[in-house]
Structure formats: structure tokens, C-alpha cells
Symmetry: C2
Subunit: 304 residues, 2 copies
Amino acid sequence: MLTLHKLKLFRIVYEHGSFNRAAQSLYLAQSVVSQHIHDLEAALGARLFERTSRGIRPTAAGEVLYGYVGKVQALLGEAELAIGQLDTQAAPQLDVAATPGVSVYLLPSWLIPLRQARPNLTVNMQTMLTHEVVRDVLNGRVHLGFLEGDTDGLAQEALGRVRVREVCYRVVVPPTHPWAGRTSISPSELKGQAFIHRQPTSRARRWLEGALGQHGVTLRATAELDSPGAVKYAVLNGMGVSVLPDYAIEREAERGELRCLAIDGVSMTRPLLMVWDKRQPFTLVQRAFIGVLAEQVPELALLL
Amino acid sequence: MLTLHKLKLFRIVYEHGSFNRAAQSLYLAQSVVSQHIHDLEAALGARLFERTSRGIRPTAAGEVLYGYVGKVQALLGEAELAIGQLDTQAAPQLDVAATPGVSVYLLPSWLIPLRQARPNLTVNMQTMLTHEVVRDVLNGRVHLGFLEGDTDGLAQEALGRVRVREVCYRVVVPPTHPWAGRTSISPSELKGQAFIHRQPTSRARRWLEGALGQHGVTLRATAELDSPGAVKYAVLNGMGVSVLPDYAIEREAERGELRCLAIDGVSMTRPLLMVWDKRQPFTLVQRAFIGVLAEQVPELALLL
DNA sequence: AGTTGGTTATCGTAAAAACAGATAGCGCTC
DNA sequence: GAGCGCTATCTGTTTTTACGATAACCAACT
């Protein structure tokens, strides 16, 4: 049977060029992706991907289908917006919660196209810590939450989640710092540095300490601040060094106001997740927001 | 969740103006239609139909959605055809079976748009009796079957079926017959008439005898012929009267060469069904044919 | 040649969705 | 107010979807 779900999944697979990566990005088992593509191929009577040893390559049929799926999804998105807009009811409201960095550096830019698509929509954003985001999402106090890191201990059964992007953390130093010309350091070199930390209750901090702790490194905190923005300005002002997510330091890195370094042998990425209460279906405003975000993050299209 | 299945169902409901009739036409329980429309309304955040005591009326949101669903279905149909046509494999073949009347009066006209849509397709049609149609469909010897009447004793579990249209049977007499000016007769008036019958193995005949038998009428067979066409020409030539399906006598009725009468108190309609083996998914050529037929019979669109 | 790391395919089982059938409720008409 | 035609809701069954483990495959590197 041809279903929207399978078509959306096909699109994600096409864009990732791999069943495996598509499954990961969707938090699905790889076997499910395999099965659904197989079903699609049976339904259409044509092979959609050629399987090679490293990944896959779309066939001519796959290319054709991809074009049509894009059009279909665009059409359906348009339909939803049109239906939402003709309801001259009370102005809808979307409540979202996000962790400190996301709420400052990423969410605002996502809201701009949303306002264009839904001029009468009011968005209410709150910044809170990871566990508070989860709590408020599951309490129904906010419609969507944004946070970083895996949701390991966090109410797996009720919490819907999807990876919006991968966030890469880097050591940041001011241009006057001795490391300014380098591209990476060893973990142990961090030991003696004056380090600008997040506050101890921050999940980002615990994650960072865990990652470095595996290499026997304990950081010496010069300051403990409660947002990446505050940390960034501390580093800019020469208070010390820190580790910050890529999205927080893009502008300064381009201008040379901050220098970024990797840490040898330490994986410094973690996923940025959108989370919601999967016990309840999406409201229209949630769908509108997801639809807008899906233009930049194709994986999200599968949710609609 | 927004699914293609529900959207197709929505379209059928819209076109029938009734949950109940849509359910009947799709051989679904009414509760299922109700539930799915409800789900759609929840997913879109808008009521799609206003419920009135006699049927339903689409809301503004329903009208908007209907337009989009049509576009989406057209797009997907186009995609399937495009994918099917770019495979430069052997010319595909579609085998269909139909009962005598259908194979002569209805199927050929359905095949014309199919040839336009799929020029390289070869259609193989065989005329056979109802039970043979079912047998060959379930044996996989033909892809689709067409027959009249309910499939009561006929392998319900494996036989997919959908009502293509309702066939209305009428008493037919030549213009020289005493009944020629009338519009209906009573069942008992048929008793003494010279009646042109189908052969005893015909399901249509057994159905007719059963329907009239409930009114205590037994027909006197002047001839037993093995197709509606043969029966028609017998009547045209003054051999007697008969009962024939509407599609077989359209032209002659318009020209006045045959006169049609109802039988008071006797329901003379039965469904024309398309049947297939539902244990196996549709092939591409099956889908192409169904798609063509769906332009005249919207209910079929749900199958794709 | 054997091993490792990457991929997709397939299997059995558990959770979720679709469905049928029965029933209730609602607004007409007679 | 009884009957008819319609939609809504409930319960149990069937079908679909998803997971997790495993197999099979290929390339690259010992």
C-alpha cells in the first residue's frame, strides 16, 4: 500500500543517501526503513535505489519519485496552512521551551518564517534547563521543547523526539591566547587553563565534564555562568577559555574575534532535539511550526 | 496522523455527501468512516463537514481540502505512470476477466482511456461466467475480474471487491408488444409471456429466478442464450420478452427500438463489482487501470 | 586469506492502528 | 410519539507497524 508515511520516509532516505543514516535521523530501526522502501518498490513495481556496499544510489525511478514526493508534500503543507488561516477564530498561540543556547541563537531565526506563514500566530518562548523543558512538555505547559543531548533518563515512553541537527562543540579562546593559531589541543592541555563554566545544574556542563573526565581531565572553573551567551562574552573579554556550541560562536569565529579548536580524541558533538508529548496528537500550530522548520530540516517533514 | 488513506476516504465522503453512502460504496463499516474523518479533523484542527440530519455538508475547510486532495491524487497518479513508463522493460500485459454482459458493453469503453494513458500496454480480456471469473482471479490467471451481484458464497476472505456501479435490470419488450406504452408491470403478468432466458448456469439467471420466485412467478423459457447481447437481439427480433441490464439496452431504448419496464415491488438492481486477489498487492498495470477507471468511478481512487 | 567496519535484508515478537458489529443519540417525517 | 435515516461511540478482532537480533554482503585493511 502506498502511504504518505512511506513516501516521506523515502524522501529522507534519498536525502541521506543511506538507509542507516535515515533511520538514525528519524529514531527508527534500520529494519523498518528497509522494509518500507521494499514495500514502496513493490507498490510501484520499480526499484527505487540501487544497493551498493557503501550506501545506496537512487535509480531513475527513484529520481522521478523524489520530485513528485516533494511536490506532494509542498501541496499538503499548503493545504494545512490554507485551512488553518481561514479559521477566523481566536489568534492561536504556540508555546515553546528551549535550553539557554538554543533559545538565544537558533529559535529566533526559526520563528521568522513562521510569522510570515502565520501572521496571526503568537509565539511564546521560554528559556529553561533541559529537565524543565521535558517536564513542561509532558505537563502540557508548552507545545514543543528544544534541548541538546540524548534523552537517556528522560521519560522515554511519552516523549516524542527528533534530531533537528548535530551540534558541534569547540574550545574557544580569544585571539590573544597562545592557542589562537592552532586548530586542536590535547585534552590534558586544558587542565591548567582558566575555564569559564556553565553552572553545575546545567546538563551541558555535566556532559562536558563527563566527556573530558574519560580522558582524566578535570577543569578549573574561573567562572560559572548560566548561559552560553554569558560564557561567550566572558571569553571575548579575556576571562579565560571555554567550550561552546558552534551556533553560538559563528559570527565571532568568522570575524576572528574568537578562535575555535578541536580536542584531539574527544567527540564533541551531540544532537539538538525537538521534543513533544507523543501521547497527544499535534495541534495545528505545532504542525505549522514543524512545517516551517522542515524547510531547513527535512527530517521533520516525516512528522507531519 | 495525516495519511493518504484518510485523505482518499475524505474525498469519497465529500463526493457522496454522506458518511453512510461512502462507507457502503467502499465496503467499509460506517464507524470506520466516521472515525477517520474525525481523525482528519483533529489532525488539521478544523471541522471538515457540518453534520446535518440528512447527510453532511462540507465546511469551508472541507472545500479547501477537497481541492488539494484532488491535486495530490493527480500528482501521485502521474508519478506512478511516469515511473511505470520509464522502465523500458517488456511491454506489460493486463489480463482481465468479465461476465458476458460486462465484457461486451462496459469493459471496451473503459479500455480506451487506458490505451491513451499507457500506449505500450496490452490488455487481454476474457469472457467467462461469474464463478470462473472468481476462480481465475484467485488462481492468479487474471489480474482483475468484473462481475455482477454480491459475492456471497465466493471466497470472501481472499477476494478484494469494490462496487463499480449499480446495474438496474428492466423488462424489455419490442415496440410491437402490447406493453410497449407502459412503464411497469406486475410480477404475475410475466407468467404467460414467452421469455428469453440466459442459460441455466448463468448466475444472472439464477438471480432473476430467485427475485421473481419470491413473488410466486415462474418464467416460461422460449430460449436460453448465453449472453445478454444474444438475448437482446432475440427480443429485438420479436422472439419474446426478457429482463436485461441497463447498460445493454441504452442505445435501443433511446431510439425506441426496445421499450423498458419496471416490475412493481421487485428490486431489480445489483452491484457491478470489480474483484481481485487481495492476498497480493496490486501490480503497476492493475493500478494504472484502476486509476483510469477511477476517473469515472471515484470510489476506486481509494484503492490506489 | 582472515578480520574489521560499514552496509542492507530477514526473522520473530510486541505495540499500535484499522476494522466490524452492536448500540446509542439526534433530527427529521409521518 | 413512532419510525426512519443519519452520525457517534464502544468493544473485541484482525492487520499493520516497529523493534531488536541476526544474517548476509562488500570493501578495506591487516
